[in-house]
């Protein structure tokens, strides 16, 4: 029976050991012999398109089946869990921000940000909605009830961020969180994101091409052809 870290453990350290993801034809898409991240730190992943950045993020989130090796979050080896248990683990520990927002267009901003209120216990619903509203307002969204299909790209991204932050998870995984924003908005969102995760002690892993965002990370890794080629503090070119 694999050990599962309790939801109360805020800020988890992660260790990837001999992690290999293969494509349908057996080709290696990602190979990480060892990568360790301390709890409460932030990691930026960068590299050229097709390098395996999103695959690595999905792998860390336990979204990919049949991954070889081990991915420890705290004491929990995510790869030893069944799909249902990985889903449960994500529900308890991992907040996700997707590159394409992946919002429910016909729902309002607040309903999207508090999406998990639909399936958490009734006792937690009111607090979750309240917290999501506070985050949305803090992120500068004026009309929290507006359907998200009427919002700009920047506003939609903020709703997606609020959705990830609303449940106060110990891990935050973000895929190009600033890609659709202009410089000013991207910097503003970066400030908010960093402030939030530091304040909450969350572990943040983000895939990005955004130099400003990467430079604010505690550590960065560069991926090329599915392999880590550089692992250090990001230096602005």
């Amino acid at each position: 029976m694999p050990h599962i870290t309790k939801p109360s453990d805020i800020g988890l350290h992660m260790t990837m050991i001999d992690c290999v993801v293969r494509g349908d034809n057996g080709r290696v898409l990602l190979s990480v012999p060892k990568l360790q991240i301390d709890k409460g730190t932030s990691l930026g992943i960068y590299g050229p398109s097709g390098a395996g950045k999103t695959t690595m993020l999905y792998c860390i989130a336990g979204l990919i089946d049949n991954v070889e090796g081990s991915i420890y979050w705290g004491e929990t080896d995510l790869l030893q869990l069944k799909a249902k248990d990985r889903t449960h683990y994500r529900s308890d520990h991992i907040g996700m921000i997707f590159q394409d927002f992946h919002l429910f267009d016909e729902l309002g901003a607040l309903t999207n940000a508090s999406l998990s209120a639909m399936y958490v216990s009734q006792a937690k619903r009111a607090n979750l909605k309240k917290h999501a509203k506070v985050i949305l307002e803090h992120l500068g969204l004026d009309d929290v009830n507006a359907p998200v299909n009427r919002l700009s790209g920047g506003e939609r991204q903020r709703v997606a961020v609020a959705r990830a932050l609303a449940q106060e998870k110990s891990i935050l995984l973000a895929d190009e969180p600033t890609a659709s924003l202009n410089r000013e908005m991207a910097d503003s969102l970066t400030d908010d994101l960093i402030r939030y995760v530091k304040a909450e002690g969350q572990t943040l892993i983000t895939v990005s091409h955004d130099i400003n965002l990467l430079s604010r990370m505690d550590r960065t890794v560069e991926l090329k052809g599915g392999m880590i080629t550089n692992s250090t503090k990001f230096k602005t070119p």
Partner: protein, 437 residues
Amino acid sequence: MITFWDNLSALSQDFVLALFLILPTLCIGASVIRGYALWPLVSAIIWRFRGPNITFILLITLSVALSLSISALESGLRKGIAKSTDKFDLLVTAPGSETKMILATVYLEPIDIPLLSGEIFTEIEAHEKVVMAAPLAFGDSYGISPIVGTTADFLTHLSDGKIKGRMWQTSMEAVIGTLAPLEIGEKFVPSHGISFSSQNGAHADYAMQVVGRLPPTGTPWDQAILVPIEAVWEVHGLANGHAPNRLDQLGSPFDAEYFPGTPAIIIKAHELWSNYALRSEFTRSGTSMAFFPASVLSNVFKIMANIRKAMSVMSVLTQAITACSVLMSLIIISRLFQRQMSVLRALGAPTRFVFAVLWSYCMSLLTIGALIGAFCGAATAAIVSHFVSLQTGILILAPFGWGEMHYFLSFISIMALLSLLPAFAVFQNSIVEGLRN
């Protein structure tokens, strides 16, 4: 258990069966949706893919409406036809096809049938077991209304004594069926023959006056104009059934010697069981034939029941094909929002929640389609039965009854079970693949 069931009233049995049929849906719904607040999401998905959803709902509507309206119409038609023989306990005609005789007498179809002699009629009329023996005479018409000659006793029997206006008192007076195109007090001249083949003016000297109107009977007799049988015979230059010294008499008793003949005699016996004795007594080879119209129709319905059984098998097959089509459609439609389901799974939504969203979505479409289908089916059955009633004169009521309710609930429950499959199908897809779509 069987005894307990048998002791329940028909209404209780129908109610219990309805509960039993909807139980699977309630159980699935309760176990799948319990504890979730998913309706904002389900309604958002329905709205987002409204085009395909409306098409799907229309298909379900059509399927349910057709099934329910055909079932209601078939049942209504059967009941309507059966009810139209209520006042025709025992019929005596010349030997021949019983069905043909029923068509001519009960349904007033213009069919040539041979006549019975005055001797037979007077023998029946005088029989100790007979309360009423009514001769019929056909052949004339007014517009589309057939003119039927008979006796006042039969009219009283047919209308249960509830004639508006009054009964005829002379052979120049008539009582009309509720749908006949005349009013009380109006005069009319009978045409020789029926409908299109009638000869206007053939009986120009015989202007008759309407003095009464029958209540609705729900049979072709509602279109008829009823006159004393003596009038029909007199119009055609025949003896009027009575001896010359009693020419003004209307109705029984008739004189065999002056009786021109009748195609059919309607008999009402003192006791129900007497009908069987009378049937045997007046079924005479080459002379007369006595039979129960309801029994003949019952035999026809038995044949129809066999056809219905064969059709039921076909109907079950059709429904199975429909169910497969619905299932395939649901799986195809649910692929439309594979991305949304993958997002939920990636965010850590419990498997049962994703399952509940899909199941609720499918059930919403099916229930909306089935409800609209039930409404359209009821409307179609009502409209078609109205036109068939107008065409045949037989009152056909096709309201939705427990049979249709049971069909509806069975449909919902079968679909509730089938809707689990698209939900299972979503979990066969990879989350990452769904997110990248």
